[in-house]
């Protein structure tokens, strides 16, 4: 069921521009603002600018996935590589381990939301900047897991055997040690997608990070906080967020 929902979300997000929607997501209609669901062909109502909520939801899913999927994939790869290198070589010949653990300590010394908020504010808002920021702050999760796993693996007999056979260190790392250590990073992959989606919507809700013309679930929820009687602006995006997050968690179990 979890996989089914995620597939549905993915397909509708990818196919959003070609779906036969009655309204475009950027189509303003100032004469039909804040319409409750079901009026004038707006199945899920309209927002304070008269945009169709259904279209905004679909295109918001597009934004959320466009940002969180590449960010999660890249951070998993980067974190795995850094964590594995740090755990495998330790501090010889270069102090890689101290460097990586120090960097992790620096990045985790400040809550992620505040760090990203501060950094997003000093950069011009765009999807790519946000992607870079997520990449810089999220690699520590997989890196920490893979490093711990690597510290365990590097002491195992088969690595010692490979060393004794005279295989160069970098080859042992890539061919022998890495395939045995990257599973924990893969296991938390859905969790990091969920947390990235939550962070993206939170940032959009606060009005930081993404340019305002890009549809996002966070912006819809921000519109609700202006007018708390418009329950449809809260309920639909909140339900989608909730189900997506639950499905991703289920997947990582």
């Amino acid at each position: 069921m979890a996989i089914g929902w995620l597939c549905l979300l993915l397909v509708s997000a990818v196919a959003a521009p070609w779906l036969p929607l009655p309204f475009a997501p950027d189509q303003l209609n100032l004469s039909a603002t804040m319409q409750p669901p079901g009026t004038d062909g707006h199945w899920l109502g309209t927002d304070p600018y008269g945009r169709d909520v259904l279209a905004l939801l679909l295109f918001g899913a597009r934004t959320a996935l466009r940002l969180s999927l590449p960010a999660a994939i890249l951070t998993t790869i980067l974190g795995t590589l850094l964590g594995a290198t740090a755990g495998f070589y330790r501090n010889r010949p270069l102090p890689i381990d101290s460097l990586v653990t120090g960097l992790m300590a620096v990045i985790s010394s400040i809550p992620r939301l505040i760090l990203v908020l501060a950094l997003a504010a000093v950069q011009p808002p765009s999807i790519n900047t946000l992607l870079m920021l997520f990449l810089c702050t999220y690699w520590i999760g997989p890196a920490r897991l893979v490093r711990a796993e690597m510290l365990r693996t590097r002491e195992l007999p088969f690595i010692e055997a490979a060393r004794a056979a005279g295989i160069p260190a970098h080859r042992i790392l890539i061919r022998h040690a890495l395939p045995n250590t990257w599973q924990p990073a893969l296991a938390v992959f859905p969790l990091s997608v969920a947390s990235l989606i939550a962070l993206e919507t939170t940032l959009s809700f606060l009005g930081v990070g993404l340019p305002p013309e890009i549809a996002s679930w966070g912006r819809l929820l921000a519109a609700f906080s202006i007018d708390p009687s418009a329950w449809w602006l809260l309920l639909y995006p909140a339900a989608i967020l909730f189900i997506t997050s639950l499905a991703l968690r289920q997947l990582s179990k």
Binding site: A105, V106, L113, A198, T201, V208, S229, A238, L241
Partner: protein
């Protein structure tokens, strides 16, 4: 022990310096024109009429903000301006900033010219009650709930599943849902939707009444903070308790005839607390970060809202100040946790 603590402190201070410098340098590395454009268009065009005068006014504005000198000790060679490596000496923005910082001066807000320290101090008077309330309540609730769940097995799975689902909701969605349910004229109006009440109403009231009003207004914000932090705390503590109840000493206690409740309270809880204490280090900073979201939603004039507004309006001195403050909270949380470890585990005390 002391050496270990000192090492930790030094590493945290280093991390603090690195992050603050990073944010500062990044914020200033934007072309000054963008900053000027956003902030001073009105000010400059109001005082100057001709182009010449306008340029002079702009120059003066730059000088006042200290944006007319080099950013760092040296400048990198860039292809665009054909610059070579250049050494600027101590006359640069970063050096001045650090100097001011060491004197406790965080600069002035770009938006209204007030000192950042004043702004932060004023905002802290609203954030501190909120976060302290949320922190104590969530810790106490987590303790209570975890010990209850350990005794009553029949509700344990259901409660854990509920907490698990609760964890899937982002904080701002949770806060908005609470707002929709409990502070809405169409549903229930048990709590106020925003603000901290009218100052004028509070002039002639007693201290107790003031605290009552404050609690009334802080109810929804702190409930959302508590609900968001509770799942982590309870799930971790519950796992630790489950592990401890299978140990030999717990079996001994049960064999002596102690009821399950007493075994938990007197024997296993203290040992189960140790791994959970590490979470406290993250709880306080998480509450500060959560305060950003909650204060924006419930319109409380605290640090979080100050930070969010500064981020939205590119008010860099305030952002840097806020980051420094959060890192400081993290530092405090670290020391609090270390102190609690000493309290909870006599073995650590003896070693120290």
């Amino acid at each position: 022990m002391v050496r270990y603590l000192l090492f930790r402190l030094l590493r945290l201070l280093f991390a603090l310096w690195l992050t603050a410098s990073g944010v500062f340098l990044l914020s200033r590395s934007l072309p000054a024109d963008i900053i000027l454009q956003r902030l001073s268009v009105d000010e400059i065009s109001a005082t100057a009429s001709s182009l010449q005068q306008q340029r002079i006014a702009e120059q003066r504005f730059r000088h006042r903000l200290g944006l007319d000198i080099p950013l760092f000790y040296f400048s990198l060679p860039t292809a665009a301006t054909h610059q070579q490596w250049q050494w600027h000496g101590r006359r640069n923005q970063y050096h001045r900033w650090v100097q001011q910082l060491l004197h406790g001066n965080l600069g002035r807000s770009y938006r209204d010219g007030q000192p950042v320290t004043t702004l932060l101090a004023a905002a802290l008077t609203y954030t501190l009650p909120l976060t302290t309330l949320a922190a104590t309540m969530s810790v106490l609730l987590a303790l209570w709930l975890a010990t209850r769940l350990a005794v009553h097995h029949q509700i344990r799975l259901l409660a854990l599943r509920l907490l698990y689902a609760l964890d899937a909701l982002p904080l701002f969605v949770l806060a908005l849902l609470l707002l929709l349910l409990f502070a809405n004229p169409d549903m229930l109006t048990w709590f106020p939707a925003y603000g901290l009440g009218e100052e004028a109403e509070l002039v002639n009231t007693s201290v107790l009444e003031r605290i009552g009003t404050l609690l009334y207004y802080l109810a929804l914000p702190s409930i959302s903070l508590i609900l968001v932090n509770l799942p982590h705390l309870v799930i971790q503590l519950d796992a630790a308790l489950q592990q401890e109840r299978r140990t030999a000493y717990a079996a001994t206690a049960r064999a002596k005839g102690a009821p399950e409740k007493q075994v938990i309270q007197h024997h296993t809880l203290r040992n189960a607390l140790l791994p959970s204490l590490a979470q406290l280090t993250d709880l306080l900073p998480a509450l500060v970060a959560g305060a950003v979201v909650v204060e924006v939603i419930f319109a409380l004039p605290g640090v979080g809202r100050l930070l969010a507004e500064a981020a939205a309006t590119h008010d860099y001195p305030v952002i840097v100040g806020g980051v420094l403050l959060t890192a400081l909270v993290r530092l405090l949380a670290q020391f609090l946790t270390d102190g609690l470890y000493l309290l909870a585990d006599p073995r650590i005390r003896l070693r120290a």
